[in-house]
């Protein structure tokens, strides 16, 4: 009986550990020692979407407007960091990239990103162009229950990673938009040389 109980506890702990490892891994704020260059096409798309044009830094997050909790928080982080950067005279634009262009039309995205300030905009791409762009950032999106009978009420899972892209099109910093606001803010306030 004692052995059975020990086995049960062992199995329970193993299951919990696996779930813990897979889903609650520590967020990381990573300043890339080797910048990751984006393709010319991707840089052009970012520059076109950027409210200030080509020579600003870009802070990029991915999401979709039907996301009720995570994406608004990512966008809030993005918006607050853009404001901090502007205070420090750093040219930074926030760009929200829709991974769900089927529901996120231009007008929907405009309404969604508008309240987050004039230096925050959106990028809407479709099909292969979106896939190529996501690949550059290593972003995955998984659609649930999207099918012919249900092409509106579906869920999308995606990462909450935010990317700092320098004016020449290199990814320089990667962090979790939900967990690492303070680290990113400190970086902007105390390491302005990084953004020169």
């Amino acid at each position: 009986m004692v052995n059975q109980n020990l086995k049960f506890i062992g199995t329970l702990c193993s299951g919990l550990l696996v779930l813990f490892l897979a889903s609650h891994a520590h967020a990381a704020f990573v300043k890339l020692p080797n910048p990751v260059p984006l393709s010319d096409d991707s840089l052009k798309l970012l520059r076109n979407a950027s409210p200030s044009g080509g020579q600003s830094w870009k802070l990029v997050v991915f999401g979709f407007t039907h996301c009720s909790d995570i994406c608004p928080r990512s966008l809030e982080t993005l918006s607050r960091l853009v404001k901090v950067a502007r205070e420090k005279q750093i040219g930074l634009d926030g760009i929200f990239v829709s991974i769900d262009p089927h529901r996120d039309t231009d007008s929907v995205l405009e309404r969604y990103t508008g309240p987050f300030g004039k230096n925050t905009s959106y990028l809407r791409l479709e099909e292969q162009a979106l896939d190529r762009f996501k690949d550059q950032f290593g972003v995955e999106a998984v659609f649930y229950t999207k099918n012919r009978g249900n092409d509106f009420f579906y869920q999308v899972d995606h990462s909450t990673t935010a990317f700092f892209v320098d004016p020449t099109g290199n990814i320089r910093l990667v962090f979790d938009a939900l967990e690492d606001f303070n680290s990113a803010e400190t970086m902007i306030r105390e390491n302005q040389a990084f953004f020169q």
Partner: protein, 204 residues
């Protein structure tokens, strides 16, 4: 009694799982899970390989079922990383052994990018020297500098417990005790930025 246990298990798992967890753990590029094999001594039985970022280093943590009590000469923990070519990092299995790390790299770029190691295989010539290791309870952490990652290449990794020996500047695998590898070989390779993306974000 069984009903009560099942209920406890279900409730515990529900509390542990975050609301957004939807992808299969086996698809998670950060983790390789390996089935427990009780026919093996615990120290040779790999349970999982996990990846984390700490500072400027990518860490591959390989955990076994038990701590090795009596180290055997010739037994190693091996981490194989694919990036353009195969890189094998070996460390003697078990605490109390010297933390000597040997790294090998296949001498030429190979198209067999999804290859799993087999017994009798040569590890290639000596590889990069900027890897390091750290012993942890029931396992080893392999530390790889982030500067080593090449973003234009695909990346993959497997872990093994093996018996082997050096032959001049190469290494021969005599026996593979256990391996932790993704079941679908093609899916083992991902872009380094995708791995970083997964390591940086806690939610999906």
């Amino acid at each position: 009694m069984i009903v009560a246990r099942t209920a406890i298990m279900a409730i515990s798992l529900l509390f542990a799982a975050p609301p957004c967890l939807a992808m299969n753990n086996y698809d998670d590029p950060r983790v390789i899970l390996s089935y427990m094999d009780k026919s093996l001594p615990g120290a040779q039985d790999i349970l999982r390989v996990t990846t984390v970022i700490s500072g400027d280093q990518l860490i591959f943590q390989v955990k076994t079922r038990e701590q090795l009590q009596v180290p055997e000469e010739g037994d190693y923990m091996l981490l194989q990383i694919w990036q353009e070519r195969a890189h094998q990092i070996l460390v003697p299995l078990g605490d109390g052994r010297a933390d000597t790390l040997i790294s090998y790299a296949s001498s030429a770029q190979t198209n067999r990018t999804t290859h799993t190691l087999e017994s009798g295989e040569l590890g290639g010539s000596l590889g990069p020297s900027d890897f390091s290791i750290r012993r942890v309870p029931r396992g080893v952490e392999f530390l790889v500098p982030l500067t080593w990652l090449e973003y234009g290449q695909k990346l993959g990794f497997d872990a093994y417990t093996i018996r082997g020996h050096t032959v001049e500047s190469s290494f021969v695998i005599d026996k593979i005790y256990d391996r932790a590898a993704k079941a679908d070989r093609e899916e083992r390779l991902i872009s380094p930025i995708m791995l970083l993306n997964n390591l940086c974000a806690t939610r999906r």
